[in-house]
């Protein structure tokens, strides 16, 4: 009986050995480096991004603009429309001019959010500014202009009026303000000269 049990034990050992042999192999990247040379190659850091972008630099140059003709969501502004802006002051980078005062540059109306019920304001999102000699990937230029936000008083009014049946719902019809980019609005976009 003992012999039989010993044989069974031996077979079990063998079976287990086979199972563990089928272990999942280590991922290539997790394998230890074969030699010191490989380690050195892996740790070499050239600090040059192979990606189409490199946001390492924090150096940003503000460019101040104002719109030439006032626009509003009330006046049939459409998405994709080009808007003209005027540069407000000279901008230099390393003593070289980037843009000069009164230069004209264009931006695009990316999205228009219409004003909504309960006093929610309209919004204009302008982006895609085009400046001669500057790659658009070097700019952070999203500009958002909102209309008057009336929710601050519409919601308290709504809740105050709910004690009278149905009257609170009437505030639904109060619309938010239209968004208007005025000529005196100063729009600041940022130029990152060291970005790709």
């Amino acid at each position: 009986m003992n012999k039989l049990l010993t044989i069974l034990l031996a077979i079990s050992f063998l079976l287990q050995g086979i199972t563990f042999a089928n272990e999942i192999p280590l991922d290539e990247t997790k394998k230890p480096a074969a030699n010191t040379e490989e380690i050195q190659t892996n740790t070499q850091n050239t600090n040059i991004s192979e990606l189409p972008y490199d946001y390492s630099s924090t150096e940003a140059i503000p460019i101040k603009l104002s719109i030439i003709n006032e626009v509003s969501t009330k006046d049939g502004l459409i998405e994709g429309q080009k808007l003209k802006f005027k540069v407000l002051e000279d901008v230099y980078y390393e003593n070289m001019p980037v843009v000069k005062k009164d230069d004209i540059i264009t931006g695009t109306v990316e999205t228009i959010i219409t004003s909504g019920m309960n006093g929610f304001p309209a919004e204009i999102i302008v982006d895609d500014f085009e400046i001669a000699g500057i790659n658009s990937s070097q700019l952070i230029s999203t500009y958002i202009k909102k209309g008057q936000n009336r929710c601050f008083w519409v919601y308290p009014l709504k809740w105050a009026l709910t004690i009278i049946p149905f009257v609170g719902s009437l505030t639904n019809f109060i619309m938010g303000g239209h968004a208007r980019i005025k000529t005196k609005d100063v729009i600041t976009i940022y130029y990152f000269p060291k970005w790709k």
């Binding site: 003992n2 287990q16 199972t19």
Partner: protein, 234 residues
């Protein structure tokens, strides 16, 4: 001695079973890790190419989405959750980018405005119909900037969003309206994608063309008349 041997044999027999269960779990884990990596990669691409200087994370969840009593994590935690049910409908990277780009545009909104973006988040929640359209349009922009084909957004929505009867009292637009607005937005802003249409041989896109004949006809008339009027799509 016999008892000891019997115990040892039992252990030896049971150990491989436990190991095989472990390897099944490991396989499942690897699969989920692969999906998560794919989602992260495309999500981060969208953020980087669009120069979005805000933190947004992407999470794959193999559970089904609970319809009710859940807050939109994109607005509260800036966390975009992709549920397995939706993931199964996604075939290409473009479609995955479409799904993520929509959610990114919602999450971005939660960063703007006063009280750490709380008011703007409330605005998105309450005015969900309006912001649904905005999110669709911004998604198209994000996709184009990151090098994905925006027509994939049409394919993705056509595949995954059901069509209700009415939208007058609903918090959401009719899917057919959303699709028509996206198509119009691409027509005006990114016409090259329609001229050199990579999706012309895509069955799902052709299905959209089939179910949007009336809406596309309205758009055609608008273009011919150089009108700027907002169309009331069906």
């Amino acid at each position: 001695m016999k008892r000891l041997l019997t115990t040892l044999i039992c252990i030896m027999i049971l150990a491989p079973c436990a190991y095989s269960l472990d390897s099944e779990n490991a396989e499942q884990l690897l699969k989920e890790q692969e999906i998560q990596t794919r989602i992260d990669k495309i999500g981060i691409n969208l953020l980087n190419y669009n120069k979005i200087p805000r933190r947004i994370v992407f999470v794959y969840d193999k559970r089904e989405k609970k319809k009710f009593l859940t807050t939109d994590k994109a607005l509260t935690k800036r966390q975009i959750i992709l549920y397995d049910g939706l993931y199964q409908s996604i075939q290409t990277d473009d479609e995955l980018a479409a799904m993520l780009a929509r959610e990114i545009s919602t999450a971005i909104k939660s960063y703007s405005g006063i009280w750490g973006g709380m008011l703007d988040s409330l605005e998105v929640t309450l005015g969900s119909k309006k912001f649904e359209t905005v999110a669709d349009k911004r998604a198209v922009d994000y996709m184009v900037n990151a090098g994905y084909n925006p027509l994939a957004l049409i394919v993705y929505i056509n595949k995954t969003c059901p069509q209700k009867r009415f939208d007058k009292f609903s918090r959401h637009n009719l899917t057919s309206k959303r699709l028509a607005r996206i198509y119009e937005y691409i027509t005006y802003k990114y016409p090259d994608y329609l001229k050199n249409n990579d999706y012309i041989n895509n069955e799902y896109y052709q299905n959209f063309l089939l179910n949007s004949i009336e809406n596309r006809r309205m758009l055609q008339v608008k273009i011919e008349n150089n009108s700027t009027e907002e169309l009331d799509y069906e």
